[in-house]
């Protein structure tokens, strides 16, 4: 295992690599005070790096699992499986940090408000989990006001899932279900281009012999690996999700499904709210099933709406509470002053946290002010 797989910040990683630490084993016998001196960081920071390193080493060596009944797993095994799960980086290091390294495969996330700023800047941190057998499903709901960057995050995820294994990515493909018509090919091309540039930069930085692993990817290839479906009604949306089962068994390399947005067509034509809730939870169940069977991540983007309670207005995810509860992870994106923020509203495994992010020409990145902070240190 190499240093760049460690879930630490990009600047720390940079310092480690420039000080000559490239493999985990090189960190095994050094004391925190020595490391702090060498990297010119505080001792507590060095201690933290060593803790992360020894933790990763531990999970690497104990791979021996012994299941008693076929298919059954002990919680211990599941923990290791989960640690070996890959994550999809969000391209913003801060955002990845709060997401525990990026968006997990097998879970569904709803992106809704401004909490996206936590997406980490280091491109390679966005890894999707690929472990098989783990029962935790990545189902993520992300919500936010118009213009906060939901679609940008969706496109970024669809691009980042394709970062090859060599670069700590998943090397998978993406399904993008567009219900709003906000997916712009030119924008996806821009983000793909920036992603490839970042990878080659990283390559040069990490391995001097960059001839050997020169990036052969082109932005066109990345666009080709995004299966794009444009949906114009809710019946089409349900039909497509029913059909995905067949599609996925023919395209086993799909690692993420992005739905942008899951809400749009359900906000009209429904007078019977109970009916709508049933249709929606049926759809969520199917998606969760797909995430589990094909071990992929499902990212649902959601609109937000104002909720009128006791003479005050509150921001809430559209389509009601029962729908939001079905998602294992919920992220809210919001404005804080002039910065975009992402906030983890609900997650079984992550503590609630928030991080700033920004939408740049190259895609989702750490917010510029937090970059300044890192530079100041």
């Amino acid at each position: 295992m190499e240093i760049w797989r460690l879930p630490i910040s990009a600047s720390q990683r940079g310092k480690l690599i420039s000080a000559g630490y490239t493999s985990l084993s090189s960190l095994s016998s050094i004391s925190s005070s020595d490391l702090a001196r060498e990297l010119k960081v505080s001792e507590s920071e060095a201690m933290n790096i060593l803790k992360v390193a020894s933790h990763s080493r531990g999970s690497e060596t104990s791979n021996a699992s012994c299941s008693i009944v076929e298919g059954a797993q002990t919680a211990w095994d599941m923990l290791h499986d989960e640690e070996s799960l890959m994550h999809i980086t969000t391209s913003s290091a801060d955002l990845d940090n709060i997401l525990g390294g990026g968006i997990h495969c097998k879970e569904v996330t709803e992106i809704g408000w401004s909490s996206l700023s936590l997406i980490v800047n280091s491109v390679l941190k966005y890894k999707l989990t690929t472990a098989f057998g783990s029962e935790s499903i990545i189902f993520m709901l992300i919500g936010g006001v118009p213009g906060i960057g939901k679609t940008q995050l969706g496109i970024q995820i669809a691009v980042n899932v394709q970062i090859p294994n060599d670069f700590g990515g998943l090397g998978g493909k993406a399904i993008y279900i567009d219900t709003e018509g906000s997916f712009m090919v030119e924008r996806a091309f821009q983000i793909a281009e920036a992603c490839i540039e970042d990878m080659s930069e990283y390559n040069r930085f990490l391995r001097k012999d960059f001839q050997e692993c020169k990036i052969k990817m082109l932005p066109q290839d990345i666009l080709e690996n995004i299966f794009y479906f444009r949906i114009c009604s809710y019946t089409e949306q349900i039909a497509l999700i029913n059909y995905l089962d067949k599609f996925l068994s023919e395209h086993k390399d799909v690692k993420v499904i992005v739905v942008d947005s899951v809400t749009f067509h359900f906000r009209q034509d429904f007078d019977d709210m109970a009916h709508r809730t049933r249709v929606l939870s049926g759809m969520a169940l199917k998606l969760m099933n797909l995430a589990k069977r094909f071990s992929l991540a499902v990212v649902l983007l959601n609109q937000v709406t104002t909720k009128h309670t006791e003479a005050s207005f509150q921001l809430a995810f559209a389509l009601g509470d029962s729908w939001s509860h079905t998602c294992t992870n919920r992220i809210v994106l919001y404005w804080n002053g002039n910065e975009r923020y992402a906030y983890i509203d609900k997650s079984p495994s992550l503590r609630s946290a928030s991080a700033a992010y920004s939408v740049t020409a190259r895609g989702i990145r750490n917010s510029s002010s937090s970059c300044k902070r890192i530079k100041m240190m």
Partner: protein, 295 residues
């Protein structure tokens, strides 16, 4: 159901007729997408709409869509005289694209709309209308000027009515998006503003888009129709209008006197758009149309 190939799916743009504005908008108003222009009255919303419906007729090689347009207007009267004026300058500057006795106004279909239900009814007739007009110049642009006028009087301010209203928003928007996708149309919608009172940013303290606050004529405003409608459009542009007082010193024979000259400052902002960064551009409205100004 098969996925669309993104490599073949290039988004076409319709030129605004001004290279500076086109640069800001990365080529113009995108097809298969809804673009909204928000501004107070007299800022130039209708001017852009008229200008776009003329420039949509330019050949694709010149940034147009080589197409006719459907102009739905809800505010009366329709500015025929201004359209005619713009048409004359449009023809004289693009004479080589059109036959001598050709009138570009013939390819702008104008329809008045009175209520939201009327709009839905018209849109259901639009499908066959566009299909049948295929052999002539196809319709590739729909303008709705303005959407807000349909909703600002007919609805009461109570939960039931507001729910009905937002359901209508989503119905109209999804119908427009379906049309835009089916015929690869550009859709341009204008919206009015409401004044903002109180210390909060946006209505209910809710900020939408790149700008903390929209300012025009020295007042703080925000787009009409609220959050629900903001969810229905793909891109939102904002036009501001401010008066700047410039002091001009004139030397006259009997000593010095100061003249205060009022100058209009118009600006276009990108509030949000999936393909555009936060940016803005000054523009001016002349007899020939609406043009960006580079400083």
């Amino acid at each position: 159901m098969t996925p669309q190939s993104l490599l073949q799916l290039t988004s076409q743009k319709c030129t605004t007729g001004c290279p500076i504005l086109d640069r800001l908008l990365y080529g113009g108003i995108p097809c298969d997408s809804i673009t909204e222009i928000v501004a107070e009255s007299g800022s130039g919303k209708t001017q852009i709409c008229l200008q776009l419906s003329l420039h949509a007729q330019l050949p694709v090689s010149h940034g147009g869509l080589a197409a006719s347009s459907l102009y739905l207007h809800t505010e009366f009267p329709f500015p025929f005289r201004r359209l005619h004026q713009l048409c004359l300058s449009f023809r004289s500057s693009n004479a080589h694209h059109f036959p001598v006795n050709d009138n570009p106004c013939d390819r702008i279909f104008v329809q008045s709309v009175h209520t939201a239900d009327h709009l839905l009814e018209i849109m259901s007739k639009t499908d066959p209308f566009i299909e049948n007009s295929k052999n002539q110049v196809p319709v590739r642009l729909i303008v709705i000027d303005s959407i807000a006028a349909l909703f600002r009087s007919d609805f009461d301010n109570n939960p039931v009515e507001l729910k009905r209203r937002s359901s209508l928003f989503f119905k109209i928007s999804s119908k427009l998006k379906a049309l835009a996708k089916r015929f690869n149309l550009a859709v341009l919608v204008t919206n009015q503003v409401v004044d903002l009172v109180g210390p909060n940013e946006g209505i209910n303290g809710l900020r939408i888009g790149n700008l903390v606050c929209l300012h025009t004529s020295g007042r703080r405003v925000c787009p009409a129709l609220g959050l629900a409608w903001a969810n229905c459009v793909n891109s939102r542009l904002f036009l501001s209008r401010n008066e700047e007082v410039i002091r001009e010193e004139n030397e006259k024979s009997n000593g010095q006197s100061c003249d205060f000259v009022k100058k209009k400052m118009r600006k276009l902002y990108v509030v949000f758009a999936p393909h555009l960064p936060e940016s803005s551009c000054e523009f001016e409205i002349t007899r020939e149309g609406l043009f960006g100004v580079e400083r």
